[in-house]
């Protein structure tokens, strides 16, 4: 089959690789009908997260049709079912899964020992996301092997298009969890850093959950235009002062809830501290650029909540812990517990409450995937979200 394969920094190729087979009785094989490139994939494209291996298959946002089912998965899945695949692989039985912390599943990371050395403890296996999270081949391919398939799937009705349900795999529940972590109250201002696909899903979720005011910060005008179309007040950090605008909009109180939908690769020339971070990164003295975290800590209303769906990979420097402590801030973060939210979100899509397909700007064959990585990262051609058709 054809798949997008990682070969190194900025080097992803569409190649022929062996078809996946059932390896375990709980496996299923999916014929992928649609898959997408995620902002998290860009961290791998830029080689910011270690432990990718040459030859690893990319992708963790995929859906398709079940073509083969292992004997232990056959109770819940059958050939022909149409499913979206959550990016977190979950066993459904362990201590964490029982608590709904699916992204922390204690059993599905087959390279758990390796992750334990680095992180101290183990989290779930993820598709196409480094050897640390299990080294599972990803979904930017014609076929995908889904481990623990009896638990790791979302069945979707044929009345909805691929585009309407594909993002249940990741960015929609990620934006939703980002907002839910804020426990939004009707009098809250929710301020979201980043108007990429995840930031936009945060905007949509915060609006649906009834925030008084939603603010969204980015520098890419067309992304801000989308944020605004969905109810956010845009702030362009290229042309205006973020702190000053937030002060104006919150009567100098600061937003009660802040969401970081940017992560470790904040724009490197935006501020002095970002330049500083970039220099330290180049000298291997830190791994992540923490500008957004610092800014959130600084502007948040005391007692407020910082929700961090943005991905960080390792060490950050100059983190103002004194402010966090003295302002009594709460920080909530984590990879998304996808399945915990998807039944509810699917119902909302079916009822016509929301339609996440609005973010798709590019729909291309899988072969064009490698070029689209660059287009997406560099925000060329108005690119916001890429869907690939194998």
């Amino acid at each position: 089959m054809r798949a997008l394969v990682w070969h190194g920094k900025e080097d992803i190729r569409c190649e022929s690789v062996p078809d996946p087979r059932i390896e375990h009785p709980r496996d299923a094989i999916i014929k992928v009908t649609s898959c997408a490139i995620c902002g998290s994939d860009l961290h791998l494209f830029d080689n910011m997260i270690p432990a990718m291996k040459r030859g690893d298959i990319m992708g963790h946002e995929a859906m398709g049709e079940v073509v083969e089912v292992g004997p232990e998965a056959s109770g819940k899945l059958k050939v022909g079912d149409r499913v979206v695949v959550p990016f977190t692989i979950t066993c459904g039985e362990c201590w964490q899964c029982k608590r709904g912390n699916f992204s922390l599943c204690e059993r599905t990371n087959r390279n758990g020992a390796m992750q334990e050395k680095v992180f101290g403890r183990v989290g779930a296996g993820l598709f196409g996301y480094t050897q640390l999270t299990g080294g599972y081949p990803g979904g930017q391919a014609e076929y995908l092997r889904v481990p623990c398939a009896d638990e790791t799937h979302i069945k979707v009705p044929s009345t909805l298009s691929d585009e309407q349900v594909l993002f249940l795999s990741d960015i929609l529940p990620t934006g939703w969890q980002g907002a839910v972590q804020c426990d939004i109250q009707p009098e809250d201002t929710v301020c979201i850093w980043g108007a990429g696909p995840v930031g936009l899903m945060c905007v949509v979720s915060a609006v649906l959950l009834g925030a008084k005011q939603v603010i969204c910060i980015d520098r890419v005008p067309e992304r801000l235009a989308m944020a605004q179309a969905n109810g956010a007040i845009p702030i362009n950090f290229d042309t205006e002062s973020v702190i000053q605008r937030i002060d104006e909009l919150t009567d100098r109180k600061g937003p009660e809830k802040c969401i970081d939908a940017v992560g470790m690769e904040a724009h490197a020339t935006a501020t002095l501290d970002s330049i500083y971070d970039r220099v330290k990164q180049a000298m291997m003295l830190e791994s992540d650029r923490a500008h957004v975290l610092r800014e959130m800590v600084y502007v948040a209303r005391p007692g407020g909540v910082l929700s961090v769906p943005g991905v960080y990979g390792g060490l950050v420097d100059k983190f103002p812990m004194g402010l966090v402590m003295n302002k009594g801030l709460t920080i909530r973060t984590g990879q998304t517990h996808v399945r915990r939210w998807t039944d509810d979100l699917l119902r909302r899509i079916e009822e016509g409450q929301l339609d996440p397909s609005f973010v798709i700007t590019h729909k291309v064959p899988l072969e064009q995937g490698p070029a689209m990585y660059k287009t997406f990262r560099d925000k060329q051609d108005g690119c916001v979200k890429v869907v690939l058709k194998p």
Binding site: Q185, P221, A229, N236, T239, T269, T330, G352, Q353, D355
Partner: protein, 185 residues
């Protein structure tokens, strides 16, 4: 509230001609221009400090290169190739400094070397960030217009505000009570 939104609309729709990396590039352009002129005008004293007696013309040539770079950066629509050119120039500068090191005044040499290193780092960061900034502005303006109507809400924005208030935030996702009145029921 709707006034603020209107204000926001105006802001989002104005395309900044230059982002932060573009502005940094501009500063590097002025730096090139200044340094180049200095190398041309003060070639003799500079040469003495850097151990390049008799090679004043070489210094002036480098100065000319800097001036060309500076003008290029400041006038180009796409500044990125010019900034990458600066990185190459930095390498030439470092090589020249190193080549004449034995005859240079140690203090001046160290200062010059450190400056070249620092500005090289800035050039590299600038070139990297420009990737996402120097796009096609016409296409960008089209995208801004086209995306301004892309909505996630089939029932319309105002109808959708708070539409999911029926959602029960799970107990483990409720925030500490810091933001609620402490004696509320």
């Amino acid at each position: 509230m709707s006034m603020t939104t209107q204000g926001g609309m105006r802001r989002a729709a104005t395309l900044p001609r230059r982002g932060t990396a573009g502005r940094l590039a501009g500063q590097l352009g002025w730096f090139s221009l200044g340094l180049g002129l200095l190398e041309i005008v003060a070639a003799r004293p500079l040469a003495r400090q850097l151990g390049m007696h008799g090679r004043e013309d070489l210094l002036r040539l480098q100065g000319l290169r800097e001036v060309v770079m500076g003008v290029g950066i400041l006038t180009a629509r796409d500044r990125r190739p010019w900034i990458i050119g600066r990185v190459a120039g930095d390498a030439v500068d470092a090589a020249l400094l190193a080549g004449h090191a034995p005859h240079a005044r140690p203090g001046s040499l160290a200062l010059a070397m450190a400056s070249v290193a620092a500005v090289t780092v800035l050039d590299l960061i600038c070139a990297e960030s420009l990737r996402t900034e120097e796009g096609d502005y016409a296409a960008r303006a089209d995208a801004v217009r086209a995306y301004a109507t892309r909505s996630a809400f089939p029932k319309g924005l105002e109808q959708s505000r708070g539409a999911a208030r029926d959602f029960q935030v799970p107990r483990d996702f409720r925030i500490p009570d810091a933001l609620r009145p402490w004696n509320a029921a």
